[in-house]
Symmetry: C2
Subunit: 555 residues, 2 copies
């Protein structure tokens, strides 16, 4: 409307969310007089406070899940609740998809599926899920403060008091982001807790942000996804770990970094107290990590290699060890860890290096863990595994990487190191290096706007395989890049098709390096180099503080 | 050390920070029996709980300042306290530099200086400040969870209760990031508050995270830095705003964005309800913003143009208006806004567009607000004004920008739009376009590792001037980029030296566009187009809810 001096705007209500919030609470008052709701009334509560078409977030992190509330939602009546738009990070539990199967929800924005990816694909095909987009964690939480704010959120905590103050213990994870977006936009926040207490050991979420608390019939589900048994680490992985330490960490002086969660990075962690220590690298590399408390970090911590670790979440069995190492981890006054995925992701994003693994890499260096017929996602990897263009502070490794990269123009700039560590053949002897990523087929299959790439070639700086290291920063053309990748691709078809003369030239300028080029003796790559060779060794290193889940106790 | 099966590590203490924390609290017990400390005892408290060499964070946001605590620190004895390492975002108050002048602190990592930049330069010259690095906000807060965790932090809040629960009201800003890093690494957290109350209106920071509370003699300082008087907006700025709306927002369908805080972006906001509405763009552009509650947004909000705004901080005078528009802003149960710089920065980083202003742009598109002899910084701009490489969700504008950008390789990717809006001549008729940024001289002058660039040319996509728009995405070479920049640089020496034939060719492919190329009639660029032409108009639009600070009341 044009403005002609009288400033009369169409009158409208500006507090409809607040009004509606009060109406929802009023409907719930038939079920509870306070914040605490009986578990048996949960379905009734959800039917009372959720409205058709609502945006709903079910906390499902890497590890911690609001599983009871998810199950209750899937048991609601589709006549009462339908057309919900689910905005949540991880789809990991059957109930997460049951809500679509039953017609309670029909739209989805998410980050990561995993085991449910296959079934999700089917539901998309059947038109039961209208897929919005696949995000990284930080990106989805950011949209909670923009165009995807949840109207109702389910979260999981360890304990609550009658006022709704929540104690999340070591698994705070993504709760603060979900809570803040929901509570401060007149949303309904429902927490499932393992126990109700008179006074929580510490306040992780203030009670006045929380609408309802339900004590679940059993503790919320937690997945031990960061535990890697050293017994399974191979000599090939140890060789690659040696190359990473000499060819990358030492060379760039990497002190602040993020490790992926595979056996490859576990191997690096386990030879820090042996191989790296012998090289005199203690205090010079790997001092600060943004990573979950992976048990394979224990020997490096005990050896004084690692100064500080900030965690996105916790890991089952590591609670007592972490609590006893408060100089290293972030710990509350109650003595347990405070994790927080937002801050961990940010610290890793602005650090000097990310290293992780993947399933497929193409000739441009694009990589993806997406496989045919599944709709999956990449969780936090793309945020760690990308250039941090908003960074302005310098460090020696960041400046060196910046100098190595050819750039148009004259303005110097630093560069984050983004490393993929892979064996040339993966599970079932499928070659890791491919001419064409499966991501292209997935794009067609599910009508995605772009192929689902985890780490883009233009963000990647190094590829480490058992054959050697390709330094993509030193490649001046796409042809050089292709040959550097072929030059470390071993006996895969991609590797066999290398131009040997060009690879030799790339080797001369350091864009391809083999173990002997970096002073790595492959004969030393034996399991003797591992500071711990079993879960039991990790328990010993921890002085008995690490308490591995039963399935890892094989002694 | 090598491991030979016995796992004996050198015994060390692993909880030295916790032990030391208890010692500090014990020393403070001579001053207070609880958490509340008398203002008169503050210097004594600081001398008791701070130790030489500590890393100290003094909350100093864009707006809110822990000014009383900063002053008290500067009054401490340099014999007691020395060698402090200050890690804080904004250096804005004389006391922030007094601590260096007096030898209490000697190391500094920060984000932004501003008026203190000149004096800081002198202190660096004199060796009284050893400069670590200049960060963006998110980047510095990230390092709090990595290698720059504060040992002691001073924060500012509106109110506290006796248990230390804090109420920050509309100015939460950076407090949660500082608090979390400090409280969970056995740090000391001291809050200055405007008032002590029996019960806080809402809990913004849980009391069990807070060590001490001091009621300051007067309310903490807040700067109204986002208020722009529409009376000062020129017709040139209105013309540029029209070009932005037609040539960028409409063309890319920009619904989620971040606005800088200059008069240029204020002009855009003020013609949304007039020019953009006439173009039928309501509901199609500018629906979600990550920005402070700038008063010039009021007409666009009242006209129903803007759906949602998440704020990094508040703005003086906007409190009642924001509270009354809870459908648009993030509001707590107490009825006041909840701001949070971390989430606002993240939402803006992953949005489709950033637009802001600068002082200098070079021929590669690098820009900087750094000027000679001052050490300044860029606050949040580099994080908004950079490509978001961790983004994976698509939107039409992001995909279109991705298609426009030439990339090596075959993998398609989206692209964030990063726009600089500038007049060709700035204050004092200094040309905005230059062959060489002052940043190069600054680098030499202060021995910085890189020239202090705010937005890098490789992150920039568009430059808007009164002459037209350069779309750098459509430039295939650095030569084309240079000429596209010259092509909108007007009568500056850079603009006059353009290759007219090449600029004409760039115009044919849309890399340079003048008003007539995008259907913008410069004759309409009058102040009549502004939905509000004065602060008083803004007050009227707000129905009297906006209460501008006295210095903006000129009627």
């Amino acid at each position: 409307m044009r403005v002609d001096g009288d400033f009369t705007t169409a009158r409208r209500a500006w507090n409809t969310l607040e009004t509606n919030h009060r109406e929802r609470l009023a409907r719930a008052s038939a079920i509870t007089g306070g914040k605490v709701v009986d578990a048996a009334d949960t379905v009734a509560l959800l039917e009372a406070v959720i409205e058709p078409g609502d945006r709903v977030c079910i906390e499902g992190n890497n590890q911690k899940h609001a599983d009871f509330l998810a199950k209750c939602l899937s048991q609601c009546s589709p006549e009462r609740l339908h057309g919900l738009h689910i905005v949540q990070s991880n789809l990991a539990l059957p109930a997460h998809l049951d809500v679509f199967e039953r017609g309670i929800a029909d739209r989805l924005d998410f980050c990561y599926s995993g085991p449910q990816g296959l079934r999700m694909g089917r539901l998309v095909d059947e038109g039961k899920i209208k897929l919005g987009a696949i995000h990284t964690y930080l990106e989805l939480y950011s949209r909670y403060f923009c165009d995807l704010t949840p109207r109702v959120s389910f979260i999981a905590a360890e304990a609550a008091d009658a006022d709704g103050n929540l104690y999340t213990g070591a698994n705070t994870e993504d709760t603060p982001a979900i809570v803040e977006a929901t509570a401060f936009k007149s949303g309904i926040l429902i927490a499932q807790v393992n126990r109700l207490v008179d006074r929580v050991p510490r306040v992780d979420v203030p009670g006045d942000w929380v609408s309802f608390v339900v004590q679940a019939p059993k503790p919320h589900y937690i997945e031990p996804i960061f535990t890697r048994d050293p017994a399974v680490i191979s000599e090939v992985q140890i060789l690659m770990a040696m190359m990473v330490i000499r060819g990358i960490y030492e060379e760039y002086g990497i002190t602040r970094l993020n490790h992926g969660i595979g056996f490859d990075t576990a191997a690096i962690e386990l030879i820090l107290p042996t191989y790296a220590e012998d090289l005199g690298l203690k205090g010079k590399i790997c001092q600060y990590l943004s990573v979950n408390p992976c048990p394979t970090l224990i020997p490096a911590i005990e050896s004084g290699f690692i100064e500080g670790i900030h965690c996105a979440g916790s890991e089952l069995g590591m609670e007592a060890y972490v609590s006893a190492r408060s100089d290293v981890f972030f710990i509350g006054r109650d003595g347990t860890m405070r994790s927080n995925r937002i801050f961990c992701q940010l610290a890793g994003h602005y650090a000097d290096l990310f290293i992780g693994s993947t399933l497929q890499i193409d000739l441009e260096g694009n990589s993806s863990t997406a496989t045919l017929s599944r709709i999956t996602g990449f969780g936090g990897a793309p945020n760690f595994g990308c250039e941090s263009r908003g960074r302005r502070h310098a460090s020696p490794g960041w400046l060196k990487a910046g100098r190595e990269q050819p750039r148009p123009g004259t303005m110097p700039r630093g560069r984050k190191l983004v490393v993929q560590i892979v064996e040339t053949f993966g599970d079932g002897m499928a070659p890791t290096f491919v001419e064409r990523l499966d991501a292209w087929t997935l794009q067609e299959r599910f009508g995605l706007p772009l192929p689902p790439v985890m780490v883009y070639g233009e963000d990647l700086t190094h590829i480490v395989t058992e054959e050697g290291i390709a330094n993509l920063l030193l490649c001046e053309t796409m042809e050089e890049r292709e040959q550097a990748i072929r030059g470390v691709a071993g006996y895969t078809p991609v590797g066999l098709a290398r131009d040997r003369a060009m690879v030799e030239r790339l080797r001369e300028k350091g864009a391809v390096r083999y173990p002997e080029d970096m002073g790595v003796d492959p004969r030393l790559a034996t399991r003797d180099l591992l500071a711990a060779r079993s879960i039991r060794d990790l328990v010993r290193w921890s002085g008995g503080l690490y308490d591995p889940p039963a399935r890892f106790r094989n002694w």
